[in-house]
Symmetry: C2
Subunit: 167 residues, 2 copies
């Protein structure tokens, strides 16, 4: 049976929490993608503490951000948003991101995959009125969606060096 495992560094590309990466390595090997995702959800929601959530959020660029450190995966996930952005909406997005960060202390997180800039902006404005703890939980759920997409990419990126086949 083929089993799958990755290094902490590979897992950190999916989620910037070191505790998440360590726990995923401990929980491996995984039998298939479904097993991987079930373990990831359990670890993210039940074992990573709040500081670990904030650490993972801090590893994301702001939506619309153009820092050179933005990963290729982030760029691809935000490609629909960028394709639908006008200078005006992009400017508004940047301004609302700043307001959001001032209120909540972390970057506005949304699983941007396939979403247009007006949709993202409308969601940001709606979520801005939330209490900080409510917004923390929503951001953690969005982060989980991003982790799932990225783990699937890692999974589908071919047989890694740590994949082993046993009978």
């Amino acid at each position: 049976m083929a089993t799958f495992s990755w290094t902490e560094e590979e897992i950190l590309r999916c989620c910037g929490s070191k505790r998440f990466a360590k726990e995923m390595v401990s929980a491996s090997p995984f039998t298939d993608l479904d097993h991987t995702l079930r373990s990831a959800r359990d670890i993210w929601f039940n074992k990573v503490d709040v500081a670990g959530w904030l650490e993972a959020f801090a590893a994301h660029p702001a939506i619309g951000g153009t820092s050179p450190s933005v990963s290729q995966w982030s760029k691809e996930e935000q490609s629909a948003a960028m394709a639908t952005a006008t200078d005006f909406t992009l400017q508004e997005l940047v301004e609302w991101n700043v307001r959001y960060r001032e209120k909540f202390g972390f970057v506005f997180l949304i699983c941007a995959s396939g979403r247009s800039t007006p949709e993202i902006l409308s969601e940001l404005k709606k979520r801005y009125s939330n209490r900080p703890i409510a917004e923390l939980e929503i951001a953690a759920q969005e982060q989980m969606k991003i982790i799932e997409l990225r783990l699937a990419r890692l999974f589908n990126s071919g047989v890694g060096p740590n994949t082993s086949t046993t009978t």
Copy 2:
């Protein structure tokens, strides 16, 4: 009419979040204790971000802790617990505090005023099984009870230098 206000330093004795202290100073002067507490609740739950909550939690000694930096107020709040503690329960409390901190990343917070050590220990064990975000919210509610007690002490400690009377 008498009005009441305090400095950031005085507010920080009630709650270690700098944002809380700044917002309380901005919201002052207060007309009475009830006005003070209503403002404090609004600021704590709606304006202090999650990092600010963690900052406030970090300002507390662990229950049963004997660090020289423990404030007189903390000592007095924990006096019922200490009076009912045996060496055995105290040792158990210390060990569970360590486990709690490892899981959640912050000190176990409970409004200890009037509670016995066995009560606190039983509550700690029960809360240990919570998800990190659920525990964050409970800890924030306990912190609010502590803030209320301390603001009442500040309020009742006599007319401070910033109390003013207008007609």
